[in-house]
Each structure stands twice: as C-alpha cells, then as structure tokens.
C-alpha cells in the first residue's frame, strides 16, 4: 500500500533578487522528483549536502509548498486538504531533526516537550501520561527525567527524546532528516539499533535522509540516491549496493570505502532531459 507518493515535485529558490524583486538566479533545490514510499518499506534518501534532501523532506511534511507537482499521503493530495484534515496530518506524519541541540526548546522540561504534540489529541490526560511513560521506556529512559531540562542531556540522549516526541502521536510515517549525522559513531549505532526496534514495535515506516550510505543501509530496504535536486537512482538496497548503475551512485559507494574515490569517476552533470528508467524490477536509474 502506498503511504507517501511524490509526483514530479519541483521547488526553486531564488538566491539573489533584482532590486524590483525579480529573481536573478534560481537554485533548483528539488527538480522534478518522483518517488513513493510503501507502507512498511522504509526508504533511505542519500545525497551530498545541498542536493535538496531537506527541502524534499519539508515538502513531504507539507511545511513548504512545492512550485509544481503533488504530494499524496494515503492517496490524498496534501496540497488541497480541507482544514480539518490538515489538523490530523501531524498524527500521520512526524519528523526528527538533525540537530538535537536545537530541536528541543531549552525552556521546556522533558514532560512539556513530550506533551506538546498532544495539544490536539483526543486522548484523556491519563492516557497521555500512559503514552508518555510507554514511549520514554521504549527509548530507554526512566520517568525520573520528566522534570529535567534538555541541557542536562547529551546529544544522543536528546535525539532519543526527540524520537519519543515524534512517536507520541503514533505516526505512520516518520521522516528522519539527518537524524544521526551529528552524533558520534557509537551513539549512531545505538540510535540506529533503537530505530530498528521501534520500527517493529510501533509499525512505523521511515523516510530516512542521510548523506551516509552505510547508515541508510542498516535501516532501509529501499534506497534512493539524490543529486542536484533529482533522484538519480532508486532501488532495493542490495541491488543498489551490488550493482550501482549511475556514475554518482558508484562514486558515493566508493567514497564510503576510500578517500581516493573522488578521482575515480569524473564529475558528472545531470542533464534536464534525462528520465528515470526501470533497469530491472524495482531498480530505477536516471538516463
């Protein structure tokens, strides 16, 4: 079943403006992206910094309006949602951010941070408390921390709190935007392990965004590679790793192995005329 469907989405930002307000130069943050995320099949999105991953995530979250194209969540076009349903969106989709030091409001106690998503919840107070304890336990905290403040926690601990907060509404899709990138390697492992446990337990599907192929591979059976605002290759993780077709994917894979990789494949420009073609079942490449 299709959970999230992104259809030919474009978003250009003007980086400099004329004094009359006309855009001079456009940055093609997202340039015609098609992709789908199926229920239960987490998708990893890989690409270098500045390739438009975060913009794509925010478009998926309905936080930015795309210039063209549509985003469907469970078959409903998110651009034309009636007011009441837009209210429900947060309970279907949530997001964990990159920087755990800035994603928790320093003035909120952990209790208030976790309570915040429940503002429109239909649960009673008791049920909310129950839910809060359950999630705290799920991310490995005791309830003693509820009255403490974010600055008392390390980066990894904060990220766990952020994950608990995102899961409070029991979303179907969790977007993790570089969620482990700012953590050191051992803590990354912990968080990734935790995420894989939570996936089973809460039946949530991940849209995992990272610049690190190794990290994505651990969590996602399906991987998409993004380059200069376009998806250049998309397919099941094993196939993509064993048989990368697009030069950029090859470079990424090599880079994950050795530093010399940069010289192996020359810089490849993505041309506008290219389209995603299905090479084998479920494996798409931009040609």
């Amino acid at each position: 079943m299709k959970l999230l469907e992104i259809n030919n989405v474009r978003k250009y930002f003007s980086t400099s403006r004329h004094f009359l307000g006309k855009a001079h130069h456009l940055t093609r943050a997202v340039d015609g992206v098609d992709m789908t995320i199926d229920q239960g099949v987490s998708l990893g999105l890989v690409g270098e910094s500045g390739c438009g991953k975060t913009t794509l995530a925010r478009i998926a979250m309905n936080m930015i309006k795309p210039d063209t194209g549509d985003v469907f969540f469970e078959g409903q076009n998110m651009g034309h949602l009636p007011r009441m349903q837009r209210r429900l969106l947060p309970s279907l989709m949530q997001m964990v951010f990159q920087d755990p030091f800035s994603s928790l409001d320093p003035r909120f106690s952990i209790r208030n941070i976790l309570k915040e998503p429940m503002a429109f919840s239909s649960l009673t107070r008791g049920e909310q408390e129950q839910k809060m304890y359950e999630l705290l336990a799920a991310v490995g905290f005791s309830e003693h921390i509820l009255e403490r403040f974010p600055y008392e926690f390390s980066g990894g601990e904060r990220q766990r709190i952020a994950i608990a907060r995102a899961l409070m509404m029991q979303p179907k899709l969790l977007i993790l935007d570089e969620a482990v990138s700012s953590l050191d390697v051992l803590v990354q492992e912990q968080i990734l392990h935790l995420l894989s446990l939570l996936k089973e337990r809460f039946g949530v599907t991940y849209f995992f965004i990272s610049h690190n192929l190794r990290v994505v591979k651990k969590l996602c059976p399906k991987i998409a590679v993004m380059y200069q605002g376009k998806i250049v290759e998309m397919g099941p993780a094993e196939i993509l790793f064993n048989n990368p077709l697009h030069p950029y994917t090859k470079r990424l894979l090599l880079a994950a192995i050795s530093y010399r990789a940069q010289n192996v494949v020359a810089e490849q420009e993505v041309l506008d005329e290219k389209r995603l073609c299905e090479k084998e079942k479920g494996h798409f490449v931009l040609e």
């Binding site: 949530q94 951010f97 990159q98 800035s102 409001d105 915040e116």
Partner: protein, 366 residues
C-alpha cells in the same frame, strides 16, 4: 547544576549574580519602599491630597521637638505656627510656643478607603485636628507636601508600570508576528514602526494630548496619559523583538512545533516570545524612567494630571517660578523623588542586564 547536583534554574542563577550587586539591591529596596508607600499612601500620609488650610500657605517644614522647654524629654511634638506679613506682604511663619501638638501614631484624620475597599480614618501619624503637621512644608494653598507627595507617587509610579506593560504587550505581540511571518506583513509593520519612531516623542505626546478634549476628569486623563505612552513606546521594542523572532523562528524546535501542527500564534507564544524574555525584562526596567519623566513633563505643562489631584510632575509645576524656589525651596522635593526613582530604575535595570547576560548571550548564539 550546583555542587549538590541539584538543578539550578535560570532564575536562581541570575538572582545570585544580581544579589552580588549591593547597589542594585539597595536601589531595589528603595523602589520597593516607594511602591509600598504608594499603595498605602492614604494610610501613611497625615492628610488627604486635597486637605487645605490657607493659613498655612507656603508654611516651611516644621521642626520636630523632643525636648520640653524645661529640658525634660518628651514624645516628639510640634508647636503651632503663627505668621506676620513683612514689608513685601510675604508671610513670616514663627513657632507659637504656647500651642504644643504631640505627634501621635494612628490618630483619626481624613476618611479614606484602604486599598480602595476598607473604609478607615486612621493615619500612620499626625497631630490632633486643631493643629497641623507639615513635616516637609506646605504648598501655596496650605496642603501638606508630604501627603501630596505620597498621593502623587501613586500616579507617577503606576503610570510608568502600567504604560510600560501595555506597550510591551503590544511590542512583543506585534514584533513577534512581524518577525515570525516576515514578508509583506513584516515590511508593513516595520514601516509603521519607523513612522512612530520618526516623530520626536515629546511632540507626539503633546499632539496626542491636544487631540483630546481638555475638560476630562482625573481618571480619564490618567488613562489617556497611559494610552498615549503605550502608543509611543511599542515601536522601538517591536523592532528589537522582530529581529529576535527572525532568528528564533529558524531554530529546529520551531520547525518541530510546526510539524506537530501547532498554530502560528501558539508557536509565537510558546517558542518565540519566551526566548526574548531576558531582553524584555531589562528593556522594561530601563524604559520605566522614561514613562515617569514623560508623565512629569506632561503634568508640569498642565496637560497631565490636574489640580487638586497630585502627581509628581503636577506638584513640580508649582516650582516653575523663581519666587517659589527662592522662598519655598521645599516644593522642589517631588523633583528629588523623580530623580531617586529614575536613578534606582536605571541601576536595577543595569544590574539585571548583567545578571541575565549569560542567558542573553547563550540565546543569541546557540
């Protein structure tokens, strides 16, 4: 965290720094005392603000005696006064040693309502109603200056506080919205702010006052002055808050709150404005003196609080002539009180800035 590993809140940490500044603590106590006296002005003042006796016009401060004429110690008392006219028809007051009025605690006097509700007629100190007590002298109509000072402090001290609160509510709200939404809303609001800031404050004040009819009652004038001040004061704060909101809205916890579906107003209220608090507290403290002086200036020119009601500026307006200053210098006392209050607010504001500084910096950086 402190040594015991307990959680130290921002407030506690800042309070410690503040406490170390002795001068500021002293100034804060002075302010506390002034506000306390203002709240219970009707009790602490020996007379009501409009209790006059023309026989005591420009009566100089009375001497308090503690030794009887025969040399024995006595409860503090004052003599009655009598006056003669000199060659310029000026009154020369002398003590009338035949009349002796003991200063008593809690004597009966003018009736009032304590805190606006409890009817009472006892005052903190005073003399029996036959005599009069003017510890700090009397004004042209023989009204007790000390009493009028205390009554006037109600207006002068509260106008600063209320005016500042109203303009800050507006400034925070408007600045928050402007910074958070950005775009054309921001442009519109900021150009509006600049229009307000462009006009010199004092003339704007005069113009606004002139736009309203002159024959208002005292409460109306009081409210009018408050509104005028708030009208002028919000713009500069809104500008600063707008700048802070623009940086704060890019924090990821604001994005997270958006992703949770919280409304914009709720995000501004919960995640943006609280982070401007340390700045706002300092700014409030430092801008109260301006309001107090503004009220004084309006009243001094006769556009603010009208006689017989008292405010510090209104009291000072009697001291505008050289004759009064030369022969009755005690009517300058309200000026001293304005001076003390303004200095105290500035010192406390500066100390608060120092105390909250680590937090101001931390919030500016992270």
């Amino acid at each position: 965290m402190n040594k015991q590993g307990q959680h130290v809140s921002q407030f506690q940490a800042s309070f410690k720094v503040f406490q170390r500044n002795r001068l500021a603590v002293a100034c804060l106590s002075v302010l506390g005392l002034l506000y306390f006296l203002a709240i219970f002005a009707d009790f602490f003042s020996p007379y009501s603000y409009d209790n006059e006796d023309r026989n005591y016009s420009y009566c100089p401060p009375m001497k308090v005696h503690m030794v009887n004429q025969d040399g024995s110690l006595s409860w503090p008392y004052v003599y009655g006064t009598s006056f003669v006219f000199d060659s310029f028809h000026k009154r020369i007051y002398t003590e009338d040693k035949t009349q002796k009025y003991t200063i008593r605690l809690f004597p009966k006097g003018d009736a009032y309502r304590l805190l606006g509700v409890i009817p009472w007629d006892r005052h903190f100190f005073g003399v029996e109603t036959k005599g009069r007590l003017h510890l700090w002298g009397a004004d042209s109509r023989g009204r007790d200056l000390l009493s009028r000072l205390l009554w006037g402090s109600r207006v002068s001290l509260s106008i600063g506080l209320i005016g500042v609160l109203i303009s800050f509510v507006f400034g925070l709200f408007i600045g928050g919205i402007s910074g958070y939404y950005g775009g054309w809303i921001d442009t519109l609001v900021m150009r509006l702010c600049e229009m307000f800031m462009m006009v010199p404050g004092f003339y704007l004040m005069l113009a606004l006052r002139a736009a309203f009819p002159p024959n208002l009652n005292s409460l109306q004038i009081y409210l009018l002055v408050v509104v005028i001040f708030s009208f002028i004061g919000w713009a500069s704060l809104a500008r600063v808050i707008r700048g802070m909101a623009m940086t704060l809205k890019q924090r990821e916890y604001v994005l997270a709150a958006k992703a949770m579906g919280l409304s914009d107003l709720r995000i501004i209220r919960m995640h943006i404005l609280p982070h401007t608090m340390s700045y706002s507290i300092v700014a409030i403290m430092l801008s109260i003196p301006g309001y107090i002086m503004g009220e004084s200036a309006l009243s001094l020119l006769g556009l603010g609080i009208q006689d017989p009601y008292a405010s510090w500026g209104n009291l000072l307006s009697e001291a505008m002539g050289i004759v009064q200053i030369r022969f009755a210098p005690w009517i300058l006392l309200p000026g001293l009180f304005i001076f003390i209050t303004v200095i105290c607010f500035n010192v406390v504001g500066d100390a608060l800035r120092d105390a909250l500084d680590p937090w101001l910096k931390a919030e500016g950086q992270s």
